[in-house]
Each structure stands twice: as structure tokens, then as C-alpha cells.
Amino acid sequence: MSPANNKLSPYDWIIVGGGLVGASIAYGLIQKQPQLRILVLDGGDTDHRASVGNFGLIWVQGKGNDFPAYANWSLQGADLWPEFARQLSHKSQIDIAYQRQGGLEFALSQHQLSVLREEMATMSRHTQGRFQYTLLDRNAALALQPGLGEAVVGAAYSPQDGQVNPLYLLSALHKANRLLGVEYQSRCPVEHIEVLEHGFNAAGSLAKHIVLCAGLDNQRLGKQLAMHLPVTPVKGQILITERAEAGKLPYASPQMRQTAEGTIQIGGSHEHKGLDNRSSLDIMQTIANDAVTIMPELAKLHLVRSWSALRVMSPDGAPIYQRSTKYQGAFGVCCHSGVSLAAAHAGLLSSWLLNTLDRDQKILIEAMNNDRFAV
């Protein structure tokens, strides 16, 4: 994106937040209406950034078990990904290492396997059978993923799951946005949003429309625009190993995945620790232990990095897409699936913001507004 200029003439859109959500939306808007003047305001270097702590899965399994709209939205998002990835790589000339070879979720007990069975069936029901999956016993799982530990009793497989390098994705979105003419201002924290007669003033820049994509800060900023955006931090820790031989893990999994560079990413803890995003020994040990239990030969791989980031979580875990009823032109977008939903945000959600979406799609997105949290 190009450095912002001319703060005084109003923009068409200000996006508050330059993470995956904000960058995807800006990318969608500028592609649909190239004449738009769009400004992305981004925060400081050490702000909490869920986008750089993402695991990199484009995941469908188990999303929206209790929420049919979210299940359909996730599946649609995953289906939009191949074309989105192709276009983005072409525009940015960055290989984002997208693959859709399917995903495995491993079960370490018969109970876990039966929970997976139920989840998959529910998900399939919610999507009228469009969600495809197979439940694998131990031998079937071994056929797809050799080297599984004794404790693995089976797995759930869906061909619709995929993976990407989330850092390259973010980098590619920023680069494509810059080339398409989106303006970008980093180190620009937004403390206060002023409501003007025909628009908004955020950090000294004016715009007719504003979209809050500020992650955990959406709760605070939402209030200023009369939107209830209840999000809380859920900490996730990740371990990353040295490069292993290619093809060690052919399928993506929330428990472990091999990146295009060859490193193996292990993780996925869920902790409620407020804004504390430090790595902790007990969790790192648990993650390592789980990984070695699933794949004993990983034990000899060295850890090269650990990471921990804060997920932006709504009360039911599903996204919130909100239009301010009080201030026309103000929107809030909250979600913790910035990678999985990147294609949906760039495609359908930006059309929703521009009010060019057909009725069915509009109903689907608006089913995910904050009315569901009404007290």
C-alpha cells in the first residue's frame, strides 16, 4: 500500500486495522470499485497482532456446529479460496503457499473420535451435505499419515480443508493493495473516532465510511460508533520446529502442519489470560507432548521458535459483522479466522459493505450480526 497523503480531503473508506481482516476487506473493496479512495490505518510494531500469530489453516471441520450460518459461511469461504489465492499471487507476485489437499483432525481416544463423528454429522446437516468428510479408523488414518503414534485411534478427514503461509498472505495483501492504490498508514493508533455530519474522523483522516477491523480494540472503538462488539482475547501458543524433509505431513491439521519451507508448526492452545501473550513453559510442554504422542518421530526435531498470540474471540466463537444503526456508514468486523475467511472477506463481505450483495448472501452475513448477543 502507498503511504497515506493528503489527510484533509475525505476518503471513501477508512479501514481501522491493517491485519488480515482489514487488508482483505481493503483488497476486496478496491478490486470491486477501483476508483475508491481507501485508507488503511495500522497500529504500532509491538501491538497485539493476531494476524502474525495465525496457524495458517483454511479450516472447515467443526466450524459453526452450533451456528448454521457460520458453518455455511466457512464452507463458502474455503470454496472461494482457490480463485482468491490464484489472483492474489498473480497481483502481488508473492507465492503464498496455498494448498487444498485436505485436513486431518486426530483423535487420541474413542471418546474424542465419537465427538468428532457427531460434529462432522452436524456440520454436514447444517450445510445440506455440501460439507464432505470421512471418519477414519486408525488404519485408514495411517494410510494417509504414516508414522502415527500408538495413541492415535483415528481421525476426521475433510478434502475441503487447506493451508497457507499466513505471513506471506498478509504480506501479499499489503503489496497488492499498494499496487491497486490503497493508501496505508502504519504506526497510527486510533484513539478516538469523531462522528461528523457526513462521515468520520479517525486519527486526523476523514472518510465517508469506516470499518473497524482493529481486533481486540474493536470493543472499545465500537462503543464510540454505537456498536456492541463483544470480543475477548483467547491466547494461543504455537511451536515451530526446524525444517524437516518435505512431505512429512502431507495433510493440514489443527494439531500440526508442515509449512512450505519445511518447518513443522505445532499448536493450538486456548487460554483465557487477558492481554498476556507471553510463552509459558507448561503450555509449550503440553503442546510438545501432544505432538510427540501423535507423531513420535517429531521428538528429534528441534524447536526454532515459539509464538503466542491473542485470538479475537466473540462469545460464541463466530464472526460478528455489524452495521452501526445509529451512524450510517460505520461497520464493525470481528473474527478470529482471518485466514480461513480471507477470501470471503475480500469477496462477499466487501460487496456487503458496498451494498451490492444479493438478498440470500445478505441474509447469511446479517445472521452473524450482534443481535444474537442481545440481552
Binding site: 526446524e242 525444517r243 528429534k300 528441534h302
Partner: protein, 99 residues
């Protein structure tokens, strides 16, 4: 192997037998593994995992991580922080696996 860039002042110190990439050598006792490799004329001791270029120890004090070798089967050992022991088995990664 390169020409011996370094020579050792210790002429009469006790020697220690070690194995480097399967070949037995005698080196002065108490040397660090990195120093022992240099003493034997090995300047470059690994291929860089990204560029495959030859790399050599740089800092000899544990901060550059350029001297990683396999010692007695243990991978990713900083050669500059370990002293040679009799019959220690050292594998460098100029060929084959990365330590």
C-alpha cells in the same frame, strides 16, 4: 579441508582422540569442538539450510549459531561451547543431513 589457517601453541599438551565424520584424529585435550575442527583444518563445517552455501563458525562464543554440529548423536550442538572428550564422535554437515 582447507590449508591450515591456524597453528597451535600447545606443543606438548596431552592429546585427545576424537572422530570427525568417521575419521579418527588426535587433538590437544581441552579444546572446544569448534577449535578442534579448526585445528584439524576444517574451516567451513556446514551447509546453510536456506542457501546451501558453506558456512563456518563466526563468534566462537555461542551467539551466532553457525557452528552447529552433531556430537555423539545429539543434533544442533554449538561446537564452540563443548570441550572435546576422548572418543567423542563429531559429525559436521558439509554433506548429508543438517545438524
Amino acid at each position: 579441508m582447507t590449508d591450515l589457517l591456524f597453528s597451535c601453541l600447545l606443543k606438548d599438551s596431552p592429546m585427545c582422540p576424537i572422530t570427525v565424520n568417521g575419521v579418527e584424529h588426535q587433538v590437544p585435550a581441552r579444546l572446544s569442538v569448534a577449535a578442534a575442527l579448526l585445528y584439524l583444518g576444517n574451516l567451513a563445517i556446514r551447509k546453510h539450510p536456506v542457501s546451501s552455501e558453506a558456512r563456518a563458525p563466526f563468534c566462537y562464543m555461542g551467539v551466532c549459531f553457525e557452528c552447529l554440529v552433531i556430537i555423539d548423536g545429539q543434533h544442533k550442538q554449538r561446537a564452540c561451547l563443548r570441550e572435546v572428550m576422548p572418543h567423542m564422535c563429531i559429525e559436521t554437515a558439509m554433506v548429508g543431513v543438517n545438524p
